[in-house]
């Protein structure tokens, strides 16, 4: 915009901006003019960075999203000022204390009723590092026993800092690299990729849980992202290593395990059998597991060598049941005992099917049909295992059948949703797992289109909504409101904007064919209805007293509503996975041919493109959607059942 009046000499020659095709998803380019109108608010902030150096824009994004994280952190945390057990904050602090002051072999044994360590060893090592540094600053924070329930502003700042630093080192770094690889493979432009980056970083659920409630989920999620990113960078072995690290940090990463297993196995078998690859993957995985366990085991051996007497009472339940006794004085005995105790701590099968109120299938079912009545017919854990298996089967089989990297986020989301809805011992915070791959889809080729934004926004809204009872307990109502509204405002989502559901340029006439990224009317109605229900629930929770006999009524309603939402999200992810895989293309073609023959046998569209090229990833969907001009007016084939959601 040089002015005629001032002699403006630009220092650098302006680069010609190449408009990537995804720009039309995030901005409306006025034909014939230079003005670009952003589709949603977030794009406004990133459009000026078009064509500018990434060395400026990425640090700025990190600084400003980091500010929001830190600002969330100055609010309350889980269990603040609630003795004697406090909450997750105290648990993490306690682990730093335990790992500081007890020998390695004691970590999984020390005073289990008071926040005994129940995460895999990487968490323990992480706690050890954080505790070491913290002790340098103030030894009181992590003094053995006397520091229980210790609370001070300094400690809070330190703990918050450990979360944010761990997150930036793992999650954010992985995410930036992931988006680089992924956006390249999907062919999306820098501005769209940066938009997706900000959207993912500002995801309210993750921020509120990690920086508000206090946990280190992002470290685990970061390793998962790193694992995904390695797949896109075509380094499957690194992917295994990162995935094992994720598992080694939090066992919850198991939610993704079937999907990544299916992918790695499938990619070694198709298009041709590659034994070496399969073997390499297996060996690397085992080695990585060994590496994760090594310090723990070495520590145990060292303690044994020192003659440290381990109070191995009581022995892990599953050993005691089988009457297996191990002699902690022998090497193998000590190692096995340590390992089995760790597994016993990590997978608490002795606990119930679900704890608290969580928006999954079992809790919802329990509301209407008391589950103990089932117990006489079948063991509940087994039942839950069957259901989980059924729900993760689609994602596993699709990924096994066509192991294409572009399908992985869908499969991960679908698989994790299956686990969240049906598996055993689910926490409300576990919703972050299915949410992550679904939100990562924002950086996919169609990720910022109205359709995807609406669905991803919907999933995020429901997720953060189901965590409201938890966040309210932690005194995080204001950050909850502010961050979730900010996110929806940035992405043009309800309740603040309807732009995802409505295009002012399209005529409002019934029977108009849907625009490429438009949602079906039924879907729109469902979404709006759902947002209305969630809004109404907030009104109820704020102003209405639950009946005296059912004090938890609102929380239960919240969980049930959330469950319905998640089931729908699960269906969407799975359906998208199947569509994107192209497995149903033949089916659609047949239907289309059939309908066309009924309608008078005009040229069947899409066949020409379909025949050449087996691996037409990019056009897999376009071919069945694009209507050739001559025959476009013929009815769109009606996909059966849920097909309605996707057919355009």
């Amino acid at each position: 915009m040089s002015q005629a009046s001032t002699p403006h000499k630009p220092r650098k020659k302006k680069r010609q901006l190449v408009r990537s095709n995804t720009l039309t998803d995030i901005a409306r380019v006025e034909p014939g003019s230079d003005s670009i109108n952003p589709e949603f608010n977030l794009v406004s902030f990133l459009l000026p960075a078009r064509g500018k150096s990434q060395w400026i824009s990425i640090p700025l994004i990190l600084i400003f999203t980091g500010l929001f994280r830190w600002a969330t952190g100055i609010w309350g945390y889980s269990g603040q000022g609630i003795p004697p057990m406090h909450g997750d904050f105290e648990a993490q602090r306690h682990w730093m204390e335990v790992t500081q002051h007890t020998p390695v072999s004691m970590w999984y044994f020390y005073d289990l009723p008071y926040w005994g360590l129940d995460y895999p060893p990487l968490t323990a090592y992480h706690s050890w590092v954080c505790g070491k540094i913290g002790t340098l600053i103030n030894p009181e924070w992590f003094a053995l026993f006397t520091s229980r329930g210790y609370e001070s502003p300094d400690l809070k700042v330190y703990m918050r800092a450990t979360v944010i630093i761990s997150e930036y080192l793992v999650y954010v770094a992985a995410l930036i690299i992931f988006i680089r690889h992924y956006s390249r493979s999907q062919g999306i432009g820098t501005t769209a990729a940066n938009t997706a980056l900000v959207a993912i970083l500002m995801q309210p659920a993750t921020m509120l849980i990690d920086h508000g409630h206090f946990q280190y989920n992002t470290v685990m999620l970061g390793f998962v992202i790193a694992s995904l990113s390695s797949i896109y960078a075509n380094r499957p072995l690194w992917s295994c290593i990162y995935f094992v690290l994720a598992l080694g940090f939090k066992q919850m990463a198991l939610y993704y395990a079937p999907a990544i297993f299916a992918y790695l196995l499938g990619s070694s078998l198709t298009p041709r059998l590659r034994i070496s690859r399969l073997l390499a993957i297996a060996i690397i995985t085992i080695l990585a597991f060994a590496a994760v366990l090594a310090p723990l085991m070495a520590g145990t051996l060292y303690d044994l060598y020192r003659g440290f007497d381990l109070p191995y009472r009581p022995p892990p339940a599953f050993l005691a049941q089988r009457r297996i006794t191990l002699d902690p004085k022998t090497t193998t005995g000590a190692l096995t005992l340590q390992l089995s105790q760790m597994i016993h701590r990590i997978f608490p099968f002795a606990r119930g099917l679900f704890e608290d109120k969580v928006a999954n299938f079992w809790c919802t079912l329990h509301t209407f049909y008391k589950l103990h009545r089932l117990e006489s017919y079948i063991q509940l854990p087994r039942l839950s295992a069957y259901f989980t298996f059924m729900t993760i089967l689609p994602s596993m089989s699709v990924l096994f059948g066509c192991p294409r990297p572009s399908l992985i986020p869908y499969a991960f989301a679908s698989c994790a949703f299956g686990f969240f809805l049906f598996s055993f011992q689910v926490h409300e915070k576990s919703i972050l797992l299915p949410l992550l791959p679904m939100t990562l889809l924002l950086s996919s080729k169609k990720g910022l289109s109205k359709e995807y934004r609406a669905w991803i926004g919907f999933a995020n809204a429901v997720a953060v909504y189901t965590m409201f009872p938890l966040l309210r307990r932690d005194g995080l109502r204001t950050p909850y409101t502010v961050l979730s509204l900010l996110w929806s405002w940035l992405l043009g989502l309800p309740p603040l904007s309807m732009s995802c559901y409505y295009d002012p340029d399209l005529p409002n006439v019934p029977g108009r064919p849907l625009a490429p990224d438009e949602l079906r009317t039924l879907t729109k109605i469902f979404h709006w209805w759902f947002y209305a229900v969630m809004g109404f629930w907030h009104l109820l929770a704020a102003f209405a007293e639950p009946p005296a006999t059912k004090p938890d009524l609102w929380v239960v309603v919240n969980a049930c509503v959330g469950c319905v939402g998640f089931v729908v999200c699960y269906v969407w992810c799975t359906w998208k996975l199947i569509l994107e895989s192209g497995l149903l293309n033949d089916y659609f073609e047949d239907t289309a041919k059939y309908i066309d023959s009924l309608m008078g046998g005009e040229e069947v569209w899409g066949v020409g493109e379909q025949q050449d090229g087996v691996e037409k990833e990019e056009n897999a969907e376009d071919t069945i959607v694009v209507q050739s001009p001559g025959s476009g007016e013929k009815a769109t084939p009606k996909g059966k059942g849920k097909g309605g959601k996707k057919r355009r």
């Binding site: 980091g66 500010l67 300094d154």
Partner: protein, 529 residues
């Protein structure tokens, strides 16, 4: 062709001819992204998240004022002294507090009790913080008006400037964390400056500035520039100094008197003017404020400190009573050990001298840009040589300067060290660990963003560059990083709690160098244009 519908036609998904809708009227104003409103929203969310952040005694000061204005009749406002934080802002601000207190009483009636010292319930915090966030909308409106009043060719630049002011770390640190209402008042100031662009707006500009003075008297520092500009451009003919516009003089005089009359009249009627003035202008304070504002006197005291160290070798006489005066860091009288002491008279005459120099240029060339330049220079002179200057007063320079910083690159070159020094000098205001990442990250982010954007938007100067600050500025900016690290971390590790004044002294000396350099650079630009 019959117009009957068959079932087939209904089912047929014929593409319907696009309904031609009247396009939304294209505004003549091209939209720049992100818009002011979008930035306001995002910034507001961050500020809401900062509700529980550290708050200084100014929070209690303002709460006390809410209580005073709510529970006492106006004629007792300036006499009330239950709390040590007596009302020392002019009457309009007191009236503003009175308005707020009406709402406050509904929210938490304990908040407006004068005896309830240091009361900070959650509703009180939320209400007071929210009042700052809401009153900042005035700044948004002013900036919107400022951009709209810019001539078309420079609108992109002024949009960037408006964003930089809206998102200024100064307001975040001083208003939303430390707690004050500056953003609102700077809103009034910017309104007034923007109005002064056109001849028709001069009168309202003057009235608004008078109103502003009755909100907060610190803006008296800028008053000389207003006086000269309005006199020259509004009261006298632009072409002929000796032909006064009598009608304009009367209009301006009457309205300004009316504004002041409405503010101070009642107090004059109650015979309280002396009391009011003694509250507004407490002359008993020392040369340097608790944390040395980065001005000439900061460098002066720094040199004095250095001389104490070398005095034995140079055989200089040391005033033993003054040895520990500055190190105490208290609000009080400052005396120097080696260098001669500074009297208020000296401060005043230095300030006046530099004011006169800036105003002469304005008198000779009464254009809007010279006017803003003169405002900036008045801010500089008062800040650099003033008596008991607060570090917060640096906004008096930064904000007017921002408005013309993109005039050309030589202006920008002197703006850069000012922005760096000015904002870093605010850091000592927040000393808690929790706020440390916020102030540093936000300020660094702001500096990267806006210095980069400004660099791309500033046009080349139309005349030969006379002053080369670039190299110096780069070096200067680079030093800020180790300085921040030293002050926040290394000093703690090295000395623990000893020599607490050292980081403060380094910060203010460093910042003073930046402010003074930028002042020299700006003077050159201003005088040579």
């Amino acid at each position: 062709m019959t117009s009957s519908f068959s079932l087939g036609q209904v089912l047929d998904l014929k593409p319907i001819a696009r309904e031609i809708r009247p396009k939304a009227p294209q505004s003549t104003q091209e939209q720049y992204h992100p818009t002011l409103w979008q930035c306001t929203v995002v910034a507001a969310t961050l500020k809401i998240l900062l509700l529980p952040a550290y708050k200084s005694t100014d929070f209690e000061v303002h709460r006390n004022w809410l209580a005073i204005t709510h529970s006492l009749p106006p004629w007792e406002w300036y006499y009330e002294r239950t709390s040590e934080w007596t009302l020392d802002y002019p009457p309009y601000f007191a009236a503003f507090e009175w308005l707020l207190s009406q709402l406050a009483a509904l929210i938490d009636s304990d908040m407006v009790d004068t005896n309830n010292l240091n009361y900070s319930s959650w509703p009180t915090i939320a209400f007071q913080r929210a009042s700052v966030i809401v009153s900042e909308l005035l700044l948004f409106a002013a900036l919107y008006f400022f951009v709209a009043s810019t001539p078309f060719g420079a609108r992109k630049q002024s949009h960037a400037v408006a964003l930089s002011i809206l998102l200024s770390p100064g307001f975040l640190i001083i208003d939303h964390i430390h707690f004050q209402y500056n953003s609102m008042m700077y809103g009034i100031l910017i309104f007034s400056i923007a109005l002064a662009r056109t001849d028709s707006g001069l009168l309202s500009s003057g009235i608004l500035f008078a109103v502003l003075l009755c909100f907060k008297h610190i803006y008296l520092y800028l008053a000389p520039a207003y006086f000269v500009y309005l006199l020259r451009a509004y009261c006298l003919s632009r072409n002929n100094v000796f032909r006064p516009h009598i009608l304009n003089c009367i209009k301006l005089g009457v309205s300004v008197l009316a504004v002041f009359g409405a503010a101070f009249g009642p107090f004059a009627y109650w015979g309280q003017l002396d009391q009011l003035m003694s509250r507004l202008f407490p002359f008993s304070r020392g040369l340097c404020h608790a944390y040395w504002a980065p001005n000439m006197w900061a460098i002066y005291s720094f040199v004095d400190r250095l001389l104490i160290l070398v005095a034995p070798y140079l055989k200089l006489s040391i005033d033993p009573g003054a040895l520990h005066s500055v190190t105490r860091g208290l609000v009080g009288d400052t005396s120097f050990a080696v260098l001669p002491n500074i009297s208020p008279k000296l401060c005043f005459s230095l300030t006046l001298a530099f004011h006169i120099q800036a105003l002469t240029t304005l008198w000779l060339k009464p254009t809007w840009e010279t006017f803003v330049g003169a405002l900036t220079l008045c801010g500089y002179a008062s800040f650099l040589f003033g008596w008991h200057v607060h570090e917060k007063a640096v906004l008096l320079i930064i904000i007017p300067f921002s408005l013309i910083a993109l005039k050309d690159r030589s202006y920008l070159a002197s703006f850069r060290p000012l922005a760096v020094a000015g904002y870093i000098s605010l850091f000592p205001l927040l000393f808690t660990a929790q706020e440390y990442p916020i102030k540093t990250a936000y300020t660094i982010g702001w500096l990267i963003l806006f210095l980069y954007v400004f660099d791309r938007l500033a046009p080349a100067p139309s005349r030969q560059r006379v002053f080369l600050l670039d190299r110096f500025a780069l070096l200067y900016n680079a030093i800020s990083v180790p300085l921040i690290i030293y002050c926040s971390l290394v000093h703690q590790v090295l000395f623990r709690d000893k020599y607490e004044f050292l980081p403060l002294m380094f910060t203010s000396t460093y910042c003073a160098v930046g402010v003074i350099t930028s002042w020299i650079g700006f003077m050159v630009c201003y005088l040579s244009s």
